[in-house]
Symmetry: C2
Subunit: 251 residues, 2 copies
């Protein structure tokens, strides 16, 4: 008898064996699509792997790999002996490491950047240490003022090793730093951030068009690419009244 959670049927799944897209990925994408469209209900159980492999005419390892992929992204949970279930859609993987520029663009605001300084040279000690650079290494050091919809939002100091990316003023005015890094093949994959708060000095207040003593959100970050190469150091200050950090963390 069947009085447990409903078992999804996984309707018509078409696979293209001549496609360069791997089979396991085709299966995973199709499954995710079915889940997100609501055809397969949240909390419902998947068919077991053997049946699924049978019906889709692929081997069990291929099915397992597809399911594995979705488990890692938090879409499915497996329990040995019990089956595979669809997880509540609220729990999804953090999308990607984002920068302020990305965040603003995504939320529909129009960011605008003023480059206050940009020069190449040996990094300060704490920067060199954060990036793990040697004695003779050089970085591009920049100070930027970031506006959203015309209002000043953040003072940003950044360092990028010159052999990672030669930064140019005109690029930075039109694009975010992370976008430039990605385009150069040094997409940040991991970052360490320290977030704190303090009140504005009068110099900072003047730049940010705010008052002395206004609350500020501070963030310092070091980012690495997939190869473990340090690609960016940043020390940012945000007007707390106009910006807050949104983060998704996962184990």
């Amino acid at each position: 008898m069947e009085h447990s959670t409903p078992r999804g049927p996984v309707p018509e799944v078409a696979l293209d064996r001549s496609s360069p897209v791997p089979l396991y990925f085709q299966v995973a994408s199709r499954l995710q699509q079915l889940i997100e469209s609501g055809v397969m209900p949240v909390g419902g159980r998947l068919e077991n792997e053997v049946e699924l492999a049978d019906r889709l005419a692929v081997s069990r390892p291929t099915i397992r790999r597809a399911v594995q992929y979705l488990v890692e992204r938090g879409v499915l949970v497996r329990k040995r002996g019990a089956g595979t279930q669809i997880v509540h859609p609220k729990v999804r993987r953090p999308v990607e490491l984002s920068s302020l520029y990305d965040d603003l663009t995504k939320s529909g605001q129009k960011p605008h950047t003023e480059i206050r300084t940009l020069h190449v040279g040996a990094p300060a000690d704490h920067v060199a240490e954060a990036l793990g650079l040697g004695e003779d290494a050089e970085v591009t050091w920049i100070e930027r003022l970031r506006f959203a919809d015309g209002e000043p939002l953040a003072i940003m100091h950044n360092a990028v090793p010159v052999d990672v990316l030669p930064l140019r003023r005109e690029d930075l005015e039109e694009r975010g730093l992370y976008e430039l890094l990605r385009a150069a093949g040094y997409a940040p994959r991991m970052a360490n951030q320290v977030v704190g708060a303090r009140v504005a000095t009068s110099a900072e207040a003047r730049l940010l068009d705010d008052v002395r003593g206004a609350p500020l959100l501070t963030m310092t970050r070091t980012a690495w690419d997939a190869g473990g190469r340090a690609v960016e150091y940043g020390s940012h200050i945000y007007r707390a009244s106009r910006y807050s950090l949104e983060l998704t963390l996962s184990t």
Copy 2:
């Protein structure tokens, strides 16, 4: 001829086939150990998978799975046609979702908690929405004051659904909330956090033994377990002069 990066020899690796620990995991652990102890140099190349499988007398899928595991944790990088390399140790996996209590304990401080209120009832609207709860759901609502080395550090408001965990005063005084959740089998696996800053009101300043206008770090968070069940909502306030958030993010 061999004038590329040195190829690690992977010295004497002993596997126990009678152990309940899976072979691929034994291999992965051993490799990680060799890497972290410095026997296999950072940046160095691994033997290719076929040779490795041969020498360790396991199949290639097993080796692949072990390497895969370390790739996911950021210890290795693979490139088709090129080989597998050891990544700089700075780039490692975020350990686990931690709470303030965990953080303090780990950094050698002695946390101490004062429970100011604890009652069960229907959640406020914004809390119910954050947790995705229905009309008739009940939560335990707590307000705590957290001290480190005798000094007040944070005001913490939390809500936990009663059917997840019945919270008791005496437990909370001695343990962190996350520790209790983990013990009950609802280990947080994913969380959404919003971090901001503002200045203290006089009431907050009094509680935190600080002055009005002192900078505060604010954090609101919703956490889910592996099954996608919302297990905790929190709204915390930290003294910025005594605490900052440290985060590791990854793609």
